[in-house]
């Protein structure tokens, strides 16, 4: 229920925003991006937990985290695209940062596809966990490589100059509120998804945790 309080923070819409109405989207776009990355880390952590401890619940959480992460990842891309269209007139620019989120979305989809493709329900969580952990090892290269390779071709996203340094107090408050709110929302959705996955799983078997 932590998310209930958290999500309430998202009233910031009417609050401050001095650069131009469209920049308000930062309150949604950045928290979405943050949440989807968080989701991936949660998935990796729970995958490791599953491999270590073996409780099926951990796998439920890991898979749920990827699903929710995919949702937020897509939202990140959509909000980013909207913003790009308003600011620069084009929907997509192959900017390194946005491209890396596109790749993150591909990664999540690949994970879910892998889960669907492994028919054996005993092997599925282990295979999925192996993939998630292998991916987490290679992920840093994505976030560092992308900016360097395409840096020569494209300008950065405008987000950077508008970063924390320039945020005045009301905006900052709203921003962190949004961050907390989205995280709370993530935790809430995660718990619902993981619990229903557990229900679905235990309906077929017996009564494991």
């Amino acid at each position: 229920m932590a998310a209930v309080i958290g999500a309430a923070f998202l009233w910031p819409k009417p609050a401050s925003g001095f650069i131009g109405e469209s920049s308000r989207i930062v309150f949604f776009h950045v928290p979405c991006a943050w949440t989807s990355t968080l989701a991936f880390l949660v998935a990796a952590a729970y995958s490791a937990l599953y491999l270590w401890k073996g409780k099926p619940w951990y796998d439920d959480v890991a898979a749920a985290a990827v699903r929710i992460g995919l949702l937020f990842g897509i939202l990140t891309l959509v909000t980013g695209s909207l913003f790009a269209n308003v600011m620069w007139g084009s929907w997509w620019n192959w900017d390194p940062r946005e491209s890396s989120y596109l790749l993150l979305v591909f990664l999540y989809s690949a994970y879910l596809f892998l889960r669907a493709a492994v028919e054996d329900p005993d092997r599925r969580p282990r295979i999925a966990a192996a993939y998630a952990l292998f991916a987490v090892v290679l992920m840093p290269f994505l976030t560092f490589v992308a900016p360097r390779i395409t840096a020569s071709l494209h300008p950065q996203t405008v987000i950077n100059p508008q970063g924390k340094i320039l945020m005045d107090t009301p905006t900052r408050a709203v921003f962190f509120g949004a961050l907390a709110g989205f995280s709370g929302l993530f935790a809430w959705l995660l718990s619902i998804d993981a619990r229903s996955a557990r229900l679905r799983r235990t309906r077929e078997n017996g009564r494991p945790t």
């Binding site: 998202l10 308000r24 619902i192 229900l199």
Partner: protein, 36 residues
């Protein structure tokens, strides 16, 4: 993306709706869990 009021209203509607929906999902899952 013109008027602030417009944006604010749209937002409020969406968030309340979302809230209600997720809440109902939570309720449904909790009930199913209790009835096990």
């Amino acid at each position: 993306m013109s008027s602030l009021g417009y944006l604010a209203t749209v937002n409020v509607v969406i968030w309340i709706g979302l809230f209600a929906y997720v809440w109902s999902l939570d309720r449904r899952v909790s009930e199913k869990e209790r009835s096990r």
